[in-house]
């Protein structure tokens, strides 16, 4: 039975990785938000299963926070932002998608190789998933680097937070409750500020391309 629970955690971790990979191959903002929501659902399920396997009731609570925040509230906010900014379609990436995916594969191999000796030291039921969580974080980084528009970058940032949260859950059965609540609040406030920020970028430059921010202005 415990073996099956362990395998279930591995499966959910793989789904997280698959969704992170789908995100870097996705061009449309609307689909990106849907993928992000799905990643949140997978994260909630993974946290619940780890909580059940290790009898840690506080993980149920953090799963609840994740559900409210990352599956309901943030996607709702993002939907409103893109509806207001009218940017449902985005086809611009700095590197073309197949190249990005090949870099992604290299990152996955790097993450797995890095995590292998670490996970051998661990006795956690979810030790094999550390490499997957690390790969998720790196893939989200890659997404933030290769996108030139503001909204996909924000989604990449949020997805990176998903990966970090999952790494914390799988390696150490979650962070202390105070830290977790703090991070949850930070992410929420971050999203609100970034939302306001996007409107300002648009007002200033008539576009959401953050390359405009690299230029220094004389006046």
């Amino acid at each position: 039975m415990t073996e099956l629970v362990g395998q279930l955690i591995n499966l959910l971790a793989s789904i997280l990785l698959m969704l992170a990979f789908a995100m870097i191959s996705q061009r449309r903002i609307l689909s990106l938000i849907h993928l992000f929501t799905a990643q949140g659902v997978a994260l909630v399920a993974a946290t619940l299963v780890v909580g059940y396997a290790t009898q840690q009731p506080h993980l149920y609570l953090s799963a609840g926070i994740t559900l409210v925040l990352k599956v309901i509230l943030i996607p709702l906010l993002l939907h409103r932002v893109i509806a207001r900014l009218d940017v449902r379609w985005d086809i611009e990436t700095l590197i073309n998608i197949p190249t990005t995916m090949i870099i992604g594969i290299a990152l996955v191999i790097f993450a797995f190789d890095l995590a292998l000796p670490i996970s051998k030291l661990s006795v956690s039921v979810a030790r094999a998933t550390l490499g997957i969580a690390l790969a998720c974080v790196l893939l989200s980084f890659l997404m933030m680097i290769t996108r030139s528009k503001a909204v996909p970058q924000v989604i990449g940032f949020l997805s990176m937070e998903n990966g970090l949260f999952f790494a914390a859950t799988s390696a150490t059965y979650g962070m202390p409750m105070v830290v977790e609540l703090g991070i949850a609040l930070d992410v929420l406030v971050g999203i609100l500020i970034l939302g306001v920020f996007m409107f300002h970028i648009r007002e200033q430059f008539d576009s959401l391309d953050i390359r405009h921010l690299e230029k220094l202005r004389e006046d």
Binding site: N10, L11, S14, I105
Partner: protein, 315 residues
């Protein structure tokens, strides 16, 4: 080789030949329902085949024997593929003849012949279709091989019957690598069977068609054989998918009685799978032809990640 083995082998070939058009009809019917159209009858593909077999076959003046022979070769390849894949039983005398890699080779063989035949007559559509088919084929093949390898890593054998025996008849284990392989396999089989995101099976619009452009010059019994072969190919791919990811219900050599149960199990699984394929086709829009390499590269890379995950989790 036992008499029971020979019997189940024959039963499997007959079932494949008879059921394949029915599967095509079922998918068309589901698709029509989902799109609020009135559906053609479930037996429409059989009527189509009957009509085509009774018609005269018209050949181009310059058609070589290759053009005339290709439909028989393609049909033979697909029928053999259906005989190798364990759909009803794992006790198959023919299955040692070809493992998963040879199976992919068999599909490639059929593809080469149908493309050569399309170029043979020298019409522009045939050449165009042949080039597109080869473009999709050379990208889909490595992805399919990778999917089959992820399953082979688990059972440590590339023989399909061994893979099914390992997956179906051990205690329940969840393999994360198979989740990746499943997604990759779905993408590959959509591309290989000319289904919607890659090619529209019902179109005759010259700019978008791939499969239809290949067989545009055929008529009569040749066209019937090619249509039947296309149905068989879809059936074969569905059965590979079912054998790798939902292998329960396939009979074993030691338990011949389960062969009786295997037939309704197969019918049920195919009906559900066909319905899901119709949903997938209705939900997605056909993509531009130059997006197809990207689509298939994603499938290939997902299958590679699946293998990597397998190694990580085992370690």
């Amino acid at each position: 080789m036992t008499w029971l083995g020979v019997f189940s082998q024959l039963l499997e070939i007959v079932m494949a030949l008879l059921l394949a058009p029915l599967l095509g009809g079922w998918i068309n019917q589901c698709r029509a329902w989902l799109q609020n159209k009135s559906a053609p009858g479930l037996l429409q593909p059989y009527r189509m085949l009957h009509k085509l077999f009774n018609k005269e076959s018209v050949l181009a003046e310059h058609a070589s024997p290759l053009f005339r022979g290709a439909p028989y070769i393609v049909f033979g390849c697909m029928a053999l593929a259906c005989a190798i894949i364990p759909t009803l039983s794992t006790d198959l005398p023919l299955s040692p003849a070809a493992d998963a890699i040879a199976l992919v080779g068999l599909f490639a063989f059929a593809r080469v012949f149908v493309s050569l035949a399309a170029m043979d007559v020298g019409t522009s559509f045939g050449t165009l279709g042949a080039r597109r088919e080869m473009l999709i084929g050379f990208l889909a093949e490595p992805a399919l091989l990778m999917v089959l390898f992820s399953a082979s890593l688990i059972s440590k054998s590339t023989s399909l019957t061994t893979i099914v025996e390992t997956l179906a008849h051990r205690e329940l284990t969840i393999y994360p690598s198979l989740a990746f392989a499943g997604v990759a396999f779905t993408m590959v089989s959509l591309a290989e069977n000319a289904r919607v995101p890659v090619d529209n099976p019902t179109t005759h619009l010259e700019l978008t068609m791939i499969h239809e452009a290949l067989i545009l010059e055929y008529s009569g019994r040749h066209l019937a054989l090619l249509e039947w072969a296309a149905h068989l190919k879809l059936f074969a791919y569905s059965c590979i998918g079912l054998a790798l990811f939902f292998p329960w219900g396939i009979a074993e050599a030691q338990a011949p009685v389960t062969l009786l149960l295997a037939i309704p199990a197969l019918l049920l699984k195919l009906a559900i799978g066909g319905g899901l394929l119709a949903v997938l086709e209705t939900l997605s829009a056909k993509m531009r032809i130059f997006r197809v390499p990207e689509f298939l590269a994603t499938a290939f890379l997902l299958a590679v990640i699946g293998m990597l995950v397998h190694i990580l989790v085992r370690a």
